[in-house]
Amino acid sequence: MLDVKAGDEQSFALLLHRYRTPLVNFLYRMVRNREQAEDLAQEVFLRVYRAREDYVPSAKFTTWLFRIATNLALNSVRDNRYQRMEISLDAPVTADAEDGEEKKLDVAEMHPNIEQHLVEETRRKMIRRAIEKLPEKQRAAVLLHKYQELDYGEISKILECSESALKSLLFRAYETLRVELAPLVAQRAAQ
């Protein structure tokens, strides 16, 4: 980021290349809409680009990046809450680009058994719904903890709360997920 600050456009391209996939995935899991997730990711990078000259390395770059992303995602989720409530959770999965791509790959290469594929798809749908049901801040905490593997200090800075508040937030989130995914959890725990 310091190279970007110094005006090195190539370094910005490297940052983009390195963080675009984790950022788009984080935002996609927050807003559950691929197009919107990409728009938000672009907005995040644009803000980083605009702020490059004022960047002070007081915190890790990932903390700063995901703080911008989380704020944008939370605002977006809140803005779209009522609109999102109208979308049925049972909407056809073909509306989701992720599911479409996943299906193509699975059926063709990984799961010749269509029955097994359907079982796995049902499991994924349950997991997605369980994450989606979490309150926004708990969802963000779980996504940053689980998928970005950030430490408690970083996540608490991103979510602007104390570390003890974050631990409590995460515990409640995993507790909710445990209850929501009880049949799958029992199955997995028994293995």
Binding site: N25, Y28, E38, A97, R123, R124, R128, Y152, Y174, R178
Partner: protein, 155 residues
């Protein structure tokens, strides 16, 4: 113990806390079950696949960055307009010259002594020039002027 379950799962407890947790788990079936279930949740979350940004993502991003107005610093601004740069440099030269002129008119010690010596005269002049009774004195008589001119005429 509940607050430490996640830390234990993540391997982020200190050595002493970890040993204490393991000791507790060996005797508490409820906490042991909770740890196993949380671990199961963790593994289940891994089943969600990652998505790749669309092919248009980079192109759109580059276009948006290119559309950003370039931030120019002062020097870049001067470099882009030589007339302004020339005018500014002339202004600076003029200011320096005016400054040097002002410096030449500063008083030296000799000048100050001279002024101090004449100060009483100046003060008297100030008093006399504003002295009200003097304004009541009659104006100089014109005749004095004519008397001065008369001898010349005679000559």
């Amino acid at each position: 113990m509940e607050s430490k379950i996640l830390g234990y799962m993540d391997g982020r407890l200190k050595e002493g806390e970890r040993l204490e947790m393991e000791k507790h788990l060996s005797t508490c079936a409820v906490c042991q079950l909770r740890v196993n279930e949380f671990r199961a949740v963790h593994v289940l979350l891994d089943e969600l696949p990652m998505i790749e940004p669309s092919a248009a993502f980079d192109v759109r991003m580059q276009a948006r960055v290119a559309a950003e107005p370039a931030k120019q610093n002062w020097w870049a601004w001067f470099a882009s307009s030589p007339r302004v740069a020339f005018a500014a440099s002339m202004l600076v030269v003029a200011m320096v010259w005016v400054g040097s002129q002002t410096a030449d008119t500063t008083l030296n010690a000799g000048d100050i002594d001279k002024i101090n010596q004449n100060m009483s005269v100046l003060e008297n002049y100030d008093v006399i020039s504003d002295f009200a009774p003097l304004s009541d004195l009659p104006q100089p008589v014109q005749a004095e002027d004519t008397s001065d001119t008369k001898p010349n005429q005679q000559m």
